[in-house]
Symmetry: C2
Subunit: 330 residues, 2 copies
């Protein structure tokens, strides 16, 4: 373990001491004193492990981790990054690093890791636990993690890209309730403000679609929890639905999805600079069903990828600030 | 809509009146008065719809729906059912009915539908909303639904198959808390007792592995919420973990997974006779990591499938009670 973690019994708080104070690199921290005592760590849902794989050799150079729900979309993002980073010749056929399991898919393009996380808080939480351990075992440092997602919009044009400033729960609170054994612990869901501002800055060079910053509401389901009238179960009226969505809007919520609170909370606890960038597939004030054509939805889903690619290329020095403002990246 | 649903405003309760009183068939009920007013229903995450697909023709004969987390496992189950039901000649190459999306996979073998649901309560709740609407639109009746899953065992030999009598939450309560708009509604998670007993009866003819009935605990994550010491985050001791797991065992819990409470609650509300049958991959009193070999785990995962196949064949009259008791089904 690069930085020592001091374990406070019966508390969700940990204090980091050690190397990072004396180094410019900021490591990814696990907050678990038990891990050091384990001879082997099997990352079961990724089909990777510390004894079966040389994790530092495989992943030590990772600087950007991008996660999203759909395996196909995360494969498409990896292909897109190959083109954007000029890696096309090196590794034309992208291999799913987690091919031994169908739980998640993972692709690596130079310093960029692209991973699917399925749908909902529990599904993304499993992959985050194992990913954070992976980055720790691989001794990665200065890692930025971005969730690239789809969402329902609130009062914004369909196809808009929302950069999350803070993830809120169904009650519009910036917190995530984690059950630990049978105790409920409340965790902070603020995201990295500098990273969010940098992404907004990057978006100014992209004229093809609107990008904005706002709160993102994270729910435990797609139908009743998001006020949809079109589920198998629904016991409220259209008026009650609109009243709820208006309250959300007035609280600053601009889009709704199903993973951001736990993503923000876990990354924050583990020292990963994190952002959530989601495209909106519809305006929930206008309906519940996703009716846009396959082609339109596919184009929408490429929008956050374009923004993330711009950020990554800027960070890697492949484009400079002038180019960023002058040119739309297509 | 086959049976009329009377809508009680501001309440989670619904009263069914109509056809089913006069018929021997029991329909699958949606509990949503808004659905009747919709011209079209797009089942977005299944890539199916009422205008684009003839759902009664495609699914009207469905009597058994089997759901499980992994797409590969649910495909393997469909293949297994082809063999068991002698459908091998008819449709050798199983087609994924949801091939247009990578969110879920779906296969049909005669009256059996096999669907993946991903991991966790939110992921299974999305597919259940759309599946229940699908069964409703297809005018299916007398449908039995079974979740075939993997789980962590409590005080039972790894590889044991647990038939759930009741799904409980992290506090050992037989309930599921559903957030609707920003109100929390508590739902009952009892499963169909006759179906559970019938499954236990079927298991008596299978000598290859132990089967038992018990409570199943459903959590929102795999690590902290299940008392694992090997996640990226852990703030409790081995003693606290064991104390919690012992309390769960004493409350009647024999296995832990991540979908059963919402599955039980939604199926119950919609008139679907439901069961949960999970194999245990390890004994959580002995550890947290899943260390068994790929081959052993693959064999474990076939066990609940064997039991479900026995039930389906018995129901379809392909085996009788004497054969059931005399022979192990392999």
């Amino acid at each position: 373990m690069d930085g020592m973690t001091v374990f406070l019994a019966n508390s969700d708080q940990h204090v980091n001491i050690g190397k990072e104070k004396h180094s410019r690199n900021v490591s990814v921290y696990v907050k678990n004193p038990h891990l050091d005592l384990m001879e082997e760590d099997i990352l079961y849902h990724l089909d990777l492990g510390t004894k079966t794989h040389n994790l530092p050799a495989m992943f030590g150079d990772i600087k950007f981790v991008c996660v999203g729900g759909s395996p196909n979309r995360m494969k498409a993002f990896a292909h897109f990054m190959q083109k954007e980073l000029g890696h096309k010749g090196e590794d034309n056929d992208l291999k799913d690093i987690c091919a031994g399991t169908d739980r998640y898919s993972m692709y690596k393009v130079g310093p960029v890791l692209s991973i699917s996380h399925g749908m909902g808080i529990p599904s993304i939480s499993i992959v985050l636990h194992e990913l954070i351990k992976l980055l720790h075992h691989a001794k990665c440092c200065d890692v930025t993690i971005i969730r690239i997602g789809t969402s329902g919009g609130l009062g914004v044009e369909p196809g808009s890209v929302v950069i999350t400033d803070v993830a809120v729960d169904s009650f519009f609170k910036p917190q995530f309730e984690q059950v630990i054994l049978d105790r409920v612990v409340t965790r902070n869901t603020e995201l990295d403000q500098d990273l969010a501002s940098e992404l907004l800055e990057c978006s100014r060079g992209i004229k093809d679609f609107p990008t904005l910053m706002g709160h993102t509401m994270c729910t435990y389901d797609f139908y009743e929890g998001q006020g949809r009238l079109d589920g198998a179960l629904c016991c409220f009226s259209n008026e009650k639905k609109l009243e709820y969505l208006k309250r959300a809007y007035n609280a600053g919520v601009r889009n709704i999805e199903m993973e951001s609170t736990v993503f923000a909370a876990m990354c924050r606890l583990c020292g990963l600079k994190a952002a959530v960038v989601c495209v909106t597939l519809l305006n929930r004030f206008e309906g519940d069903q996703i009716k846009a054509s396959h082609e339109v939805l596919a184009e929408y889903q490429r929008r956050p990828q374009q923004l993330i690619a711009t950020l990554i290329k800027k960070r890697l020095g492949l484009i400079n600030d002038t180019e960023l403002l002058d040119n739309a990246v297509v």
